[in-house]
Amino acid sequence: MTVLITRATSRLHRHGRLALLQAALLAAAGTATAAAQTPAVPVAPPPSQINAAVGTGSKFQPPPESAIPNNDFGKMVRLGRDIMVDTPKYAKAYVGNSLSCVNCHTDGGRMAGSAPMWAAYVSYPAYRAKNKKVNTFEERLQGCFMYSENGKAPPLGSEPLVALESYAYWLSTGLPVDEKTPGRGYPALAKAAQAPDYVRGQKVYAQSCAICHGADGQGQYVEGKTVFPPLWGDKSFNWGAGMGSIKSAAEFIHANMPYGQSYSLTPQQAWDVAYFMDAQERPQDPRWTGTVAGTRAKYHDSKFSLYGTKVNGKLLGDTGAPKAR
């Protein structure tokens, strides 16, 4: 990995040296005994990047929310923003889990390297191998509801899709149509030096993810509202979601997790923890063909999908037909 030293990280490094010096002085004075009894505490945060944009080369800045026009179009843009941030509330009829768009599109779809909506908007219509046809932007949005939200597709032209399209269009103000827009999707990640591994991933998960997402991966809620999203199980994305690809998950994690500490994990850690997350059971792929083997052959024939493979002696995806919604 290319280590990008920004002003912020060098400040963190300086801070770390200062704290080390302080610790040494304390130890020399014989007052560090209490600290020595406790588990090692990092003296400074792990070096991380200020913004995921540094990993993407993106220079584009979407307009600030204060610039949303005060007219009927602006209302639709605001609804799109609201759907992004609290999908179960604002697009309830089409959501089958507790996730919101913002969980994978940091900063409400504004942030480069976190699948920003502006870069997506200028990349469609496009051919997608996922359904083997040219998809409009609205059709692409339908996919998020079917898989990532484990719900059902809002009809073309329906308000949620018009709102999200309006928001994405408005965010992309000034950006040329270009499917290779820097910042699109998640930044490419160096290949794993070692094959991604469940046990190593489990360790990364416990150290770096469990504090928010829970030791059981089921996230945390306040009064029924998701704060930290569940990463597997019935309330998470289904087997058809992009995040079920170890590659996509590793790229997303590396650039965006732990929250606020972008690029602090090594690429190997990102690959390992993505493998661990994607080796857990989750709702059935809605494209289910009737058998696990058949569904794998048709939709998951990739080294980046663990669907239909055995992990720890258990066949992933062997949960029967998708639940009716």
Binding site: L26, T38, V41, P46, N51, M111, Q220, V222, E223, G224
Partner: protein
Amino acid sequence: MIRSNPLHQFLRRLAASVAVLAASAALPVLAATAADPASCAACHGANGMGNAAAGYPRLAGLPKAYIEAQLKAFADGQRNNALMSAMAKPLNPADISHLAAYYSGLHLGEAPLAKAPPAEQAALGDALVHQGDWSKGIPACIRCHGPGLEGVGTAFPPLLGQPAAYIEAQIKAWKEGTRRGDPQALMQTVALRMTDAQTQAAAAWLAAQPVPGPKAAAPVKKAP
């Protein structure tokens, strides 16, 4: 638990005042009194609501495990505060558990601690709390502390009902490395990126919000 006998109360308060006076010396003979909530009341208020003017934080309704972790952090130096370190060092695990249980079980008030800051500062604070400033790597407060800032689980405390001066002092302490022990340095990472103006705006906005009642403060672990 807390007996209401006036004589007991008087004796306890007396002992507490002595303990506070003696705290810097941390005399072992007085150590047991530090485990009494009355010792804390001198600064944190009889109902655990803190002291806004002095910048002493609210303890009422904070998660038990969070209070325990803070007392341990004061004792072992991860949080560096002369008075609190002296108060926390004599405590044994049972004392810590008792105090934490007591304060986590207290109800919260409803009125804001402070008046709303000037419009421009309020707008900046509101934006930081709800959207963050990702151009500087600062996530929104609500993303970890809950949509109503009521706290999440045991690691992410409620942010309402805390004096602006206390919040400001904490951000500063993280920046200077005198407060550590936050999980994975998540908050320290954010604090290091906050300017003084941002810190003041967020703290002023937070302190001007009404404090949620006990029901709103109870975190729900599982989805409904």
